[in-house]
């Protein structure tokens, strides 16, 4: 692993978006603290690993999840629903970071327990700023139970 452990989990199927987010993290020396997963199945496998019988699962729970909605196989809504319905993960903040700015997506995300909904800005400056601010807020300012 690395010195800061997994703090940020990014679920993003678009490699360009993932790389742009990582670029911001690199600038803030956070690139080593995150894991990028390409779809809902990978995300769920990471959060809820199959454990061998009688052996506790090796859980690596992040401090925050940046979740895209439109994902191959299992979509973001399903990942969100699982995170929020499991006792062990329900307190992990989930930030929806998506291209969508559709009202029904915003509503459904909040209905399922999303902690924040951010439409990815198209303008690079705004995009970079949004990622930097979100990271700063959820990792440094926000407090979670047991921290």
């Amino acid at each position: 692993m690395n010195k800061c452990g997994i703090e940020i989990m990014i679920v993003e199927d678009n490699p360009s978006d993932a790389e742009l987010v990582l670029r911001v993290f690199r600038k803030h020396h956070l690139a080593d603290c995150c894991v990028v997963l390409k779809d809902g199945v990978e995300a769920l496998d990471f959060l809820f690993p199959e454990s061998a019988p009688g052996e506790p699962a090796a859980r690596r729970l992040p401090k925050v999840v940046f979740l895209d909605l439109k994902l191959p196989r299992v979509d973001g809504f399903e990942v969100l629903r699982r995170i929020k319905s499991e006792e062990s993960t329900k307190n992990i903040p989930v930030v929806i970071l998506t291209s969508s700015n559709q009202e029904r997506d915003i509503k459904e995300a909040y209905d399922l327990g999303a902690n924040s909904f951010v439409s990815k800005p198209i303008k690079a400056e705004e995009f970079n700023q949004a990622v930097a601010e979100l990271t700063a807020y959820w990792l440094k300012l926000n407090r979670l139970p047991g921290q």
Binding site: S16, K70, P121, I122, A124, N128
Partner: protein, 341 residues
């Protein structure tokens, strides 16, 4: 009155007294006869009365019979009328059943149409969703990586190289705006209109203040005249005023002082609200092109914008059942009118 039988057969009299007696007897007989005749007359009168009464009775009877016949005729007529009415009722019933059948057919047809419309709307929604999601992603990548090049490799580029990258970024941004505007425009066609009483004067003032805050260097003179309230969707109407007033602010930017007015023109069919300005105006021969999507009458380098604003305003007004039109003259300003029935 009955004559004495003795008078009828007088005894044989002596010479004188006998004659006198016979005369008296005769007189008595004649009286008796008269009496009998009188009595007979009386009987005849009575019999006549009886006859008259009988005749009367018969007459009355005939009258009754006539009346009875009339009643009978009336009854027959009534029965005839009734069967006629019954036939008519039957017809009416049949007609009603036919109408109900037709209504049923129409309803089925309307339901099919509604289902088709709903399916089309869903498809359109899915389309705009994927437009919104999938067209943005590559734009974000273009913008993001150009920015990365500018930030990380700037020292290795000359001025012209940096200028080109600036243009790429600018165009990516503009396309993003076009997508947003187009999506807003397509959403409008499917949105439900929720009508409430809207104080347009107040709304215009509110919108103008927001717009003026975005143009701090400008000298803007705005007046909102009293206008009748409208029954309309407030959020959508706000959008109309934002678009019209923003245009008024934009197209007056070369004036030392912009004069913008919101008011209404009262006519026969109610009132036409308007936003007028003293800006660059336009040539009336292009008035029909003003409200088309992506139509622009001015150079984009002089007046920014995607060309969707007026199309959006037009769509909102039309969806309210109203009309929108414009009057203008080159360099003398423009006036945009709209009605809300």
């Amino acid at each position: 009155m009955t004559p004495a039988p003795a008078a009828a057969r007088p005894p044989a009299p002596p010479e004188t007294t006998g004659l006198r007696e016979r005369i008296a007897g005769l007189e008595a007989a004649s009286r008796a006869t008269l009496n009998i005749l009188e009595d007979f007359d009386e009987e005849k009168g009575k019999s006549r009365q009886l006859q008259r009464a009988t005749l009367n009775l018969l007459e009355d009877f005939a009258e009754e019979r006539r009346k009875l016949q009339q009643v009978q005729k009336a009854t027959v007529n009534l029965l005839e009328d009734m069967s006629y009415e019954r036939a008519k009722l039957g017809e009416a019933q049949r007609a009603l059943l036919n109408i109900l059948d037709d209504v049923e057919v129409e309803r089925a047809r309307a339901e099919r149409a509604k289902a088709l419309t709903e399916a089309a709307n869903k498809e359109l929604e899915a389309f705009s969703y994927s437009v919104s999601h999938d067209l943005r992603a590559p734009l974000r990548a273009i913008s993001g990586f150009v920015e990365a090049v500018v930030e990380d490799y700037s020292p290795r580029l000359d001025d012209e190289g940096r200028r080109y990258l600036g243009l790429v970024k600018e165009n990516a941004h503009k396309m993003g705006q076009l997508i947003d505007d187009l999506l807003a425009f397509s959403r409008l066609g499917r949105m439900e209109i929720a009508r409430t009483r809207v104080d347009l004067e107040e709304l215009a003032k509110e919108v103008f203040e927001e717009l003026a805050a975005l143009a701090p260097g400008r000298k803007l003179r705005f007046s909102a005249l009293p206008v009748p309230a409208a029954l309309a969707d407030k959020a959508l109407l706000r959008q109309v005023l934002v678009n019209l007033l923003a245009n008024a602010v934009k197209f007056t930017k070369h004036r030392d002082e912009a004069v913008i007015e919101f008011g209404c023109l009262r006519g026969d069919g109610g009132c036409a609200y308007y936003v007028g300005d003293n800006g660059v105006g336009f040539d009336m021969q292009y008035a029909g092109k003003l409200f088309g999507v992506f139509q622009r009458l001015h150079d984009v380098s002089e007046f920014e914008g995607t060309g969707v604003g007026l199309a959006l305003a037009c769509r909102i007004v039309t969806r309210h059942g109203g009309r929108i039109w414009a009057e203008g003259k080159v360099s003398e300003g423009a006036k945009f009118y709209f009605t809300l029935p």
